[in-house]
């Protein structure tokens, strides 16, 4: 089993601060949670699986916890670490602070996590508000093959197909790395409000709309800007934005493309075809369907499932998908590709499975 979405928590702030360059360390140490933008919408009780919370610590705060609580019991072969709250680094007002923090976080992941457990792989954190700095960070970190994709946050100033972000995607493609866009941060810091209708009221709204809408927007943006025509080897993984909406948004986009292609005349095939070829989706959180799973899976097949789906647990968050539960829920023919094969093909040799 390959788990594309494991969230390493910063269990010891001082440990991470030691990786910040000396001239910026005091600034980061004196901020609330490293100066990362905070959430106006908070989970009413806990962001985490409460069975894993300890009195003094948060779950998933070190590699040993992840091994004990996730990898060992589920028999997970590979777990990809995607920065947790730290993915909002791209929403900090200062690109200089953001670049320093991303750099420190990547080095911290390499030494404290990847060196600690051979099953772990890393996502490269980048300061997306400064795309050239982000591209430089990708090229620096990509030299370590245990980093298997670039992580961008769902919350953004503009959708990621905008040409200003091209250096990020070019660097990723050049290094043979997919780009994972993970929901989160919508409405925080310098990002646009979540949902598209103005700031929402509740966490339940933010969690329902914010993450799904940003992922939809990035998907459509990357497709209509012709990102995959520019970069034919680029692969993108969209994470934690839900997937039941996927057939609908692709049908809608294809329909609009037929009548509006003069606006984006570089698209000479249906946008959904590029999506099938270049884009993958993490399963978590797979929508609960009130007993209509067969309908869900049939619809997803219209969008290219099971080939487009990769398993993700989202450990240790409250809305995680338990690997054993997912194994039971998926149609039998989907289990191997979704839990393993699709991710292996998506990441390729960099995953390290062939070197064993």
């Amino acid at each position: 089993m390959i788990d594309c979405d494991v969230h390493p928590q910063i269990g010891d702030a001082d440990e991470l601060l030691a990786y910040i360059e000396p001239a910026q360390r005091e600034w980061f140490a004196s901020q609330v949670f490293f100066g990362l933008p905070g959430y106006p919408w908070a989970h009413p009780s806990s962001w985490y699986r409460q069975d894993l919370e300890t009195r003094n610590g948060i779950p998933g705060g070190d590699a040993a916890s992840v091994a004990r609580e996730l990898l060992d019991p589920s028999g997970t072969e590979i777990g990809v670490l995607n920065a947790d709250d730290a993915i909002t680094v791209s929403l900090m007002p200062s690109p200089y602070r953001a670049a320093a923090f991303a750099r420190a976080h990547n080095d911290w992941i390499r030494e404290r996590w990847l060196d600690a457990d051979p099953r772990l792989r890393g996502g490269i954190l980048v300061p997306a508000q400064d795309p050239s700095a982000a591209a430089a960070e990708i090229r620096r970190v990509a030299e370590d093959e245990r980093f298997v994709h670039v992580v961008l946050v769902g919350g953004s100033e503009r959708p990621y197909g905008e040409p200003r972000y091209l250096p990020i995607f070019e660097a990723a493609a050049e290094c043979g790395l997919p780009v994972a866009i993970h929901s989160g941060g919508e409405g925080l810091g310098i990002s646009a409000p979540p949902g598209g209708a103005g700031p929402v009221t509740f966490y339940i709204e933010w969690h329902t709309l914010g993450s799904a809408c940003s992922i939809m927007a990035h998907l459509v943006s990357l497709l209509v800007h012709g990102t995959f025509e520019r970069l034919p080897t680029l692969r993108v993984l969209l994470m934690e934005g839900g997937i039941a909406w996927l057939p609908g948004i692709l049908w809608r986009l294809d329909t609009n493309w037929r009548g509006l292609r003069s606006e984006v005349p570089w698209l000479d095939r249906k946008p959904s075809e590029a999506a099938r070829e270049h884009v993958r989706f993490s399963t978590q959180p797979l929508e609960h369907t009130d007993g209509e799973d067969a309908l869900l899976f049939e619809m997803l097949e219209a969008a290219g499932a099971p080939q487009i789906l990769c398993f993700a647990s989202d450990y240790p968050h409250w809305d995680f998908d338990d690997p054993a539960f997912m194994l039971r829920r998926l149609p039998e023919a989907w289990r191997e590709p979704v839990l393993h094969g699709n991710a292996e093909a998506f990441y390729g040799a960099r995953l390290g499975l062939t070197r064993a």
Binding site: P163, H225, G226, T227, E229, R230, W257, R258, G259, L260, R261, S262, P265, W266, D268, K270
Partner: protein, 117 residues
């Protein structure tokens, strides 16, 4: 069996850009490309939703690479309802090849427009 059928005066086609007539129970039309004056016969019913295809514009289809707009050199008829684009020679919808409108040879001679149907 096909015949050349008179569908109206050339002056009307030139002025309006199109001329529509009912032939054998079907609405057919001739559209004129304002760029070179060429004329094209096509059924006046879009295979998408049934819109009056001949009331659309004959124009050049765009092309390009990401971020750069170019002209393709290809003249098309754009349906006035949803904007889907049709090849004038084949009647094929360029972005939905499963759809095709019937096309007919058309010509202008002696001040009249005729269509082979």
């Amino acid at each position: 069996m096909t015949d050349w059928v008179d569908v109206g005066p050339a002056a009307e086609l030139e002025e309006a850009g199109r001329i529509v007539a009912r032939v054998g129970g079907r609405e057919v039309g001739v559209v004129r490309d304002p760029a070179d004056g060429s004329v094209w016969g096509i059924r006046n019913r879009c295979p998408h939703h049934g819109g009056p295809l001949c009331l659309g514009r004959v124009r050049e289809r765009e092309a390009g690479v990401p971020g750069r707009y170019e002209l393709s050199g290809r003249r098309i008829l754009r349906c006035p309802w949803h904007g889907w684009e049709f090849d004038l020679e084949t009647g094929r919808c360029l972005d939905e090849p499963s759809l095709r409108a019937a096309v007919y040879p058309a010509r202008v001679a002696d001040g009249r427009v005729t269509l082979l149907v």
